[in-house]
C-alpha cells in the first residue's frame, strides 16, 4: 500500500492524483465559478510534484519501488521510480508547470465557444496522468494501460475542435497509428515475457534471449515506440495531429509525449532486453539520421506555423535517436564511456527539445490567440505588437537552431563528441558511417537555422501582411509567464551544462553501472565529456565574453562623434516614392524556394501557374512522399480484402444454407 512508499514515489503518486483531480475539477468548469483556476492550479501542482519527485529520484542512489492494489489479481500495478524514470518525470513536470501557467489565458477562447471546456480540461488531466504512469510503470500491463490511456486522451484532445474535417482526419490517423504502435510494443513485451516468464519488468530483465529473439523483440519495440515518437517513415500522423490540438496541448504532445516514447525505447532497449547488439545501433542511427534530415526539410516547406513546428519535432526526435544509436553501437562494441556519452547526449537533447519545442508551441499559441492566424504568409512585424512573446520566441528559435550559448547547442555538441569517438571502433564501415551521420546532423542543424530564420523573419520581423496581424494585442500575463519560464530554462540549460550533467549522470549510473565521471571532473565551469585535451566547452565563459564584447563595442562606439540614431524610410528598391508595400517582402515560401530546388527530388512538389480573370495564380503543394510509399498501399490492400470478403454476405438464403451444408461436410470429412 502507498503507506510504505519512499518519499520520491509518494510525490510521484501525488502528482498522478493531482492530475486526476485537475481532470475531475475540469468537469465543474462552466458551472462552478473558479473551477477553471482550480483545474490549472492542480495541474501545476502535479507538475511541481513530478519535478520534485524526479529530482529526488535523480539524487537517490537506488530505485524506489511500490505496488498499488489495482490491475490483475496476480499482476498488481507495480511502480518503480529510478533515475531514468525520475529524469523523465522532471521533463514532464517542467512542461506541465509551464502549460498550467499558460493555460488559463489561452483557454479563454474556448469558454464561450461551443467546444466545451470540461472536455478539454478533463482529457488534459487524464493525458498527464497517462504520461506519468507510463514513466512509473514497472510491469508491462500497467505500462500498456497507461500508454493507451495517454494515446486515447490525447486523441480526444486532437479531435477537440472536430468541426474541421482535417482535425477529424488527423485524429483518426493518429489513433490508428498509435494503436498499431501500441500493439507492436505489446508484442515486443510478449516476447520478453515469454522468455522471462512474466510481465513484470524484473522478470523481463532476468530473461535470457537468444540473439534472434532479442532482435525480434527489439525490432517490435523500435517500430512501436518509433511510431509514437514519429520517426520517418512512421511519422505521418505527427504533422497532422499536433497542429490540430489546442496549442498548449500541442506543446504537451510535441514537448512531452514524444519524450515518453523515447523513455519507453530507452527502458526497453537499455534496461529490459539485456544483451545489446551493435546492428541495432546502426539501424537506430540510420533511421534517426533519416528522420532528422527529412523532418527539417519538410519543415522548411511548411508555412503553417504549427505544422512546421510539428515537423521539427520529427527532426529533433531524429537527433535524439542518433544519440541513442551511437550509444547502442558503442555499448555493444564494448566502449562504455562513449556509449554512456551517447546516451547522455540523447537525454540532454530530450530535455532541451522538451523545453524549446514547448516554448515555441506556446509562442505559436500566443500568436494564434492574438491574431487567429497560423499561416506565416499572413504574419509579419509581430515583434513590435507583442514584444515579450517575440523575445521568448527568439530564444526558442536560437535554442532549436543549436546556436551557442543556448541549450540546443550543448546537446548537439555532445552528440558530435560521441560521433568523434568512432576512431575507437574496429570495423571500417562503422567508423566511416558514424561521421557521415554526424555530417547529416550538421546539415540538419544548418537547415534548422535556415528554417527558423524564415519563421522568425517572416512572423516577427518585417511588416504585417494582414489586417488581423496588424492589430494584434499582447497576450495575458499568465501566457507570457509560461513562455518566460521555459525561455529562462532554455538559457540555464545552455549555460550550466556541467551542473545539469552531474544530475544526468545518475541515469546511466543506475542503468549501465557507470556515469561520465570525467565530464564533470573539472568544476562547474568546464564541460569535458571525454578528457580536457580531447574537447572542452565552457558555456559561462562564452556567454560572458559575448556580453563583454557587445558591451565594449557598444559603449566605445557611442563615444563616436555621432551618437544619435536617425529613423528614416528604407530604400524603396527603386520603386520611386515611399515604401514598397508589405507584399513586396519575401514570403516564407519564397525564402525556402532555393532549398526546395536543391533538394527537389525528396519532395512530392506540385507546382502550377494558373491564369484566371484575377490574373496569374501560382499554386504550390509540397506533399510528403511517405504517403504514397508506405500508407496508400496498405489502405488499398485492406479495402480490396474487405471487398472480397463482402461476397460472403450475398443476401441469398440458399447460398447461406449452402455454406452450412458445405461447412458440415468439410468438418465431417476433416475429423473422419
Amino acid at each position: 500500500m502507498p503507506a510504505d512508499f519512499p518519499l520520491s514515489l509518494l510525490l510521484a503518486c501525488a502528482a498522478v492524483l493531482l492530475a486526476l483531480g485537475s481532470a475531475g475539477s475540469a468537469l465543474g468548469t462552466g458551472r462552478v465559478p473558479g473551477a477553471k483556476i482550480l483545474m490549472f492550479l492542480l495541474l501545476g501542482g502535479a507538475g511541481a510534484a513530478a519535478v520534485s519527485a524526479g529530482l529526488l529520484a535523480l539524487a537517490s542512489p537506488d530505485a524506489a519501488v511500490g505496488e498499488l492494489p489495482l490491475g490483475l489479481p496476480w499482476l498488481p500495478w507495480r511502480l518503480r521510480l529510478d533515475a531514468l524514470a525520475g529524469f523523465f518525470l522532471l521533463v514532464i513536470g517542467l512542461v506541465v508547470m509551464a502549460v498550467a501557467v499558460y493555460g488559463p489565458g489561452y483557454v479563454r477562447d474556448f469558454e464561450h465557444g461551443q467546444d466545451p471546456l470540461p472536455v478539454l480540461g478533463a482529457f488534459t488531466g487524464l493525458f498527464v496522468v497517462g504520461m506519468l504512469l507510463v514513466v512509473l510503470a514497472d510491469d508491462a500491463f500497467l505500462f500498456m494501460v497507461a500508454w493507451e490511456l495517454m494515446s486515447l486522451s490525447s486523441y480526444f484532445l486532437v479531435a477537440f475542435q472536430h468541426e474541421q474535417a482535417a482535425n477529424r482526419r488527423a485524429a483518426f490517423l493518429y489513433l490508428l497509428m498509435a494503436h498499431v504502435g501500441a500493439l507492436s510494443i505489446l508484442l515486443g513485451y510478449g516476447v520478453l515475457a515469454a522468455f522471462g516468464g512474466g510481465f513484470a519488468f524484473d522478470a523481463m530483465r532476468a530473461a535470457q534471449l537468444s540473439p534472434l529473439w532479442g532482435s525480434v523483440a527489439f525490432g517490435l519495440a523500435f517500430v512501436g515506440f518509433g511510431m509514437k515518437a514519429g520517426l520517418v517513415p512512421m511519422h505521418a500522423w505527427l504533422p497532422e495531429a499536433h497542429p490540430a490540438a489546442p496549442s498548449h496541448i500541442s506543446a504537451l504532445m510535441s514537448g512531452v509525449m514524444l519524450k515518453v516514447a523515447v523513455y519507453g525505447f530507452i527502458r526497453f532497449t537499455f534496461d529490459l532486453v539485456g544483451q545489446l547488439q551493435w546492428q541495432w545501433g546502426v539501424v537506430v542511427l540510420v533511421v534517426g539520421s533519416l528522420s532528422a534530415l527529412m523532418g527539417v526539410l519538410y519543415a522548411l516547406m511548411q508555412h503553417d506555423l504549427k505544422r512546421l513546428l510539428a515537423y521539427h519535432s520529427v527532426e529533433n526526435i531524429g537527433i535524439i535517436f542518433i544519440g541513442l544509436g551511437l550509444g547502442l553501437v558503442f555499448l555493444a562494441t564494448g566502449h562504455p564511456t562513449a556509449g554512456v556519452l551517447g546516451l547522455i547526449a540523447a537525454l540532454y537533447h530530450t530535455l532541451n527539445h522538451a523545453l524549446f519545442k514547448s516554448l515555441l508551441f506556446l509562442g505559436a499559441g500566443a500568436i494564434l490567440h492574438a491574431t487567429h492566424e497560423r499561416d506565416l504568409e499572413r504574419m509579419g512585424g509581430l515583434l513590435r505588437r507583442m514584444p515579450w512573446t517575440g523575445l521568448f520566441f527568439l530564444v526558442g528559435c536560437i535554442s532549436i537552431s543549436a546556436l551557442p550559448p543556448f541549450n540546443g547547442f550543448v546537446s548537439e555538441w555532445l552528440t558530435f563528441q560521441t560521433a568523434l569517438q568512432s576512431w575507437l571502433l574496429e570495423g571500417g564501415v562503422l567508423r566511416s558511417l558514424i561521421p557521415i551521420a554526424a555530417a547529416v546532423l550538421a546539415l540538419t542543424g544548418a537547415l534548422a537555422a535556415a528554417c527558423f530564420v524564415k519563421v522568425y523573419g517572416v512572423a516577427f520581423l518585417g511588416r504585417a501582411r494582414s489586417r488581423r496581424v496588424r492589430r494584434a494585442r499582447p497576450v495575458s500575463r499568465g501566457m507570457r509567464l509560461g513562455q518566460g519560464f521555459l525561455a529562462t530554462l532554455c538559457l540555464l540549460a545552455g549555460v550550466f551544462p556541467t551542473t545539469l550533467l552531474q544530475w544526468l549522470n545518475a541515469v546511466p549510473g543506475q542503468l549501465l553501472g557507470r556515469g561520465l565521471s570525467e565530464a564533470t571532473a573539472h568544476g562547474w565551469l568546464w564541460l569535458t565529456p571525454i578528457a580536457p585535451q580531447t574537447a572542452s566547452y565552457s558555456a559561462p565563459v562564452v556567454l560572458l565574453a559575448l556580453a563583454l564584447v557587445w558591451w565594449l563595442s557598444a559603449t566605445l562606439l557611442r563615444r563616436g562623434r555621432v551618437r544619435a540614431v536617425r529613423r528614416c524610410d528604407p530604400w524603396g528598391c527603386g520603386f520611386g516614392s515611399g515604401l514598397p508595400g508589405p507584399r513586396m517582402q519575401y514570403t516564407a515560401t519564397a525564402f525556402a524556394q532555393p532549398i526546395r530546388r536543391v533538394f527537389g527530388l525528396l519532395f512530392h512538389v506540385d507546382e502550377r501557374v494558373e491564369r484566371d480573370d484575377a490574373g496569374l495564380r501560382h499554386q504550390l503543394h509540397v506533399a510528403d512522399r511517405a504517403w504514397e510509399l508506405f500508407y496508400a498501399p496498405v489502405v488499398r490492400w485492406v479495402q480490396a480484402a474487405a471487398r472480397q470478403v463482402g461476397r460472403l454476405q450475398s443476401g441469398h438464403i440458399r447460398v447461406y444454407l449452402g455454406w452450412s451444408l458445405g461447412t458440415l461436410l468439410v468438418l465431417l470429412w476433416l475429423i473422419s
Partner: protein, 490 residues
C-alpha cells in the same frame, strides 16, 4: 434451489402475465420488475453456489461457470428492460408498432430471458436444445416486429438458418445420447450433462467426434461463427434495438456456453485418442476465421446496427478462439471477455437506439455530429466504441491482453494474426464512428429523452474491471476456469 427456481421461472411467469396486460405503461414497469426479481434471485443463487459449491438435481446443474452467466444474463436483461421501457414507448408513439404487438414484445422479452436462463441452468442436454430452439422461436417474432419487408426477410433468414443449425445440433445431441447408451450404466440419465461428464472417458470417441461437428455447426450458427453467421447482422439490424442488445449480449453467449459444455465432454472422450485436441482446434479455426472476416466486414457497413453486429461476430470469434486454446489463462480471458463484451456491446446498442431516434434512421450517412446534437449520446457512443475496440482503461483491453498473452504462450505465430485483426477491426469501427459523433450537427435533429443510466452503469462496470478486477470476481472466474480446464490459474 428456491433461488434457482425463482430466477429461472419468474421470467416464464412474466411472459404469461405480460401476454395479458393491456396497459403499455404498466407492461413496461412490470417487465422491469420481473427482470429485477430474477436478477435478485440470480445474485442470491450465485452467493449460494460460491459458498456451498455446485448444485445438481431435478434436472438442473449449476456451478460457478453457468451461474456466472446466469447473473450476467439477468443483469443485462434488467438494464435492457430499463432502456426498453421509454424506448418502446417512443416507438409505439411513432406508430411503428401496434398495442397488440407491444404485448407480444413484452411477453416474448420475458420468454426469451426464460429460455436463456433455462438453457444455462439445465442439466439435460435435450432440454438445453429445447431451450435454445425456444429462444429462436421467441425472438423470431420480435425481429419482424415492425413488419417491414426488410424485417420480415431478416426474420425469415434468421428462422431458417437457425432452425437448420439447431436441427443439426439436435442430431449431434442424439449422437451423444447414442454414445451415452453404451457408456453409462443408467441409460435414463444419458442426457444428463453431469453424468456424462463423470463418465466422459467411457464415451465412444468417434461418435463423440462426429457429434461435436454437428453440435459445433448447430450451436455455432447461433454463436455467429463465419461462415454460418449470415443471419446475425440481418436479425440484429432489423429487430427493435432492445432485442439487438439482448441478442448480442446474451443469446450469443448462451450458444457459446453450449458449445463449451459439449467441448468439455468431447475432450474427455477423446483424451485417450490421437485426436485429443481436435475440438479445441476446430474452435480455434472457426474463432480466428470469424474474428478476421468480421473485422474486414466492418469496413463495408452502411447501417449502424449491422456495424455493431459484425463487431459482435468478431468478439464471439475471439472468445471461441480463447476457449479453443483451452488452458487456464485463455479460458479465464475468455470468460472475462464474455462479461465485458456483453456489458459493452449492450451499452453500445442502447446508445445506438437513442442515436437512431435522433437521426430518424439507421443509415450511417445520416447520423452526424451526435456530440453536438446530444452530447450524452455522442460521448456514450464514442466511449463505448473505444471500450469495445479494446482501449484501456476499459476491461475489454484486460481480457484481450490475457488472450494475447495466452496465445503468445501456446501459439506465438497466431498472435500476429490476432493483432492484425484487432487493428483492422479498430479501423473499421472508427472510420464509421468519426463522422457519426464528430462534426457539425445536421439541421432539424432534436435531442430525445435518452435514459443513459444503463449505459453509464455498463461502461462504469467495464471501466472498473479494466482498472482493477475485484478479488471475489477473480476467484469466481478462477473457479469456473477450474471447472472448464481442470486447473487453476491463481
Amino acid at each position: 434451489m428456491n433461488a434457482l427456481l425463482i430466477a429461472v421461472f419468474l421470467p416464464l411467469a412474466g411472459a404469461l402475465v405480460l401476454a395479458l396486460v393491456r396497459s403499455l405503461a404498466l407492461a413496461g414497469w412490470l417487465n422491469l420488475g420481473f427482470c429485477a426479481g430474477s436478477l435478485a434471485a440470480a445474485v442470491w443463487l450465485a452467493l449460494q453456489i460460491l459458498r456451498g459449491g455446485d448444485l445438481t438435481g431435478d434436472g438442473f446443474h449449476v456451478d460457478a461457470f453457468n451461474v456466472y452467466l446466469v447473473v450476467l444474463t439477468a443483469l443485462v436483461g434488467l438494464t435492457t428492460a430499463i432502456f426498453s421501457r421509454p424506448y418502446m414507448a417512443h416507438v409505439c408513439r411513432d406508430g411503428q408498432v401496434s398495442e397488440g404487438r407491444m404485448r407480444l414484445y413484452h411477453s416474448m422479452f420475458q420468454g426469451f430471458l426464460f429460455t436463456m436462463l433455462l438453457a444455462l441452468t439445465t442439466d439435460n442436454l435435450g432440454v438445453l436444445w429445447v431451450a435454445v430452439e425456444g429462444a429462436t422461436l421467441a425472438t423470431v417474432l420480435l425481429v419482424s416486429l415492425y413488419r417491414t419487408p426488410e424485417s420480415v426477410e431478416a426474420a425469415w433468414k434468421y428462422f431458417i438458418l437457425c432452425g437448420v443449425g439447431i436441427a443439426l445440433a439436435l442430431f449431434g445431441t442424439v449422437l451423444v445420447y447414442f454414445a451415452a447408451q453404451h457408456a453409462l450404466a443408467d441409460v435414463a440419465e444419458g442426457l444428463s450433462w453431469s453424468a456424462l461428464y463423470a463418465g466422459a472417458d467411457r464415451l465412444h470417441p468417434t461418435v463423440m467426434a462426429i457429434a461435436f461437428v454437428f453440435l459445433l455447426v448447430g450451436y455455432g450458427t447461433k454463436v455467429g461463427l463465419v461462415p454460418l453467421h449470415n443471419w446475425l447482422p440481418d436479425a440484429h439490424s432489423e429487430g427493435p434495438t432492445p432485442m439487438s442488445a439482448v441478442l448480442s449480449g446474451l443469446l450469443l453467449n448462451v450458444a457459446l456456453y453450449a458449445v463449451v459444455r459439449f467441448k468439455m465432454l468431447v475432450d474427455g472422450a477423446l483424451a485417450a485418442t490421437d485426436k485429443a485436441a481436435v475440438a479445441g482446434h476446430l474452435m480455434m479455426g472457426f474463432g480466428l476465421l470469424s474474428f478476421l472476416v468480421a473485422g474486414l466486414f466492418l469496413h463495408r457497413q452502411r447501417d449502424i446496427k449491422r456495424l455493431f453486429s459484425y463487431s459482435s461476430i468478431e468478439h464471439m470469434g475471439l472468445m471461441t478462439f480463447a476457449f479453443g486454446i483451452g488452458g487456464p489463462l485463455a479460458t479465464f480471458g475468455g470468460l472475462l471477455h464474455m462479461l465485458v463484451h456483453s456489458l459493452t456491446k449492450s451499452a453500445i446498442f442502447i446508445t445506438v437506439g437513442h442515436a437512431t431516434h435522433i437521426a430518424g434512421t439507421q443509415t450511417i450517412e445520416h447520423i452526424r455530429g451526435m456530440i453536438r446534437t446530444q452530447p450524452a449520446v455522442g460521448w456514450g457512443l464514442l466511449l463505448g466504441v473505444a471500450a469495445i475496440a479494446g482501449f484501456p482503461p476499459f476491461g475489454v483491453f484486460t481480457s484481450e491482453f490475457l488472450l494475447l498473452s495466452a496465445t503468445m504462450q501456446s501459439w506465438p505465430w497466431l498472435t500476429t494474426a490476432l493483432l492484425f485483426g484487432l487493428v483492422v477491426a479498430f479501423a473499421g469501427l472508427f472510420r464509421h464512428l468519426h463522422p457519426m459523433v464528430y462534426g457539425k450537427a445536421p439541421e432539424g435533429q432534436q435531442p430525445v429523452a435518452a435514459n443513459m443510466l444503463p449505459v453509464m452503469a455498463h461502461l462504469g462496470l467495464v471501466l472498473w474491471l479494466g482498472i482493477a478486477i475485484p478479488v471475489a470476481l477473480s476467484r469466481w472466474l478462477d473457479q469456473a476456469t477450474f471447472l472448464i480446464t481442470g486447473s487453476h490459474l491463481l
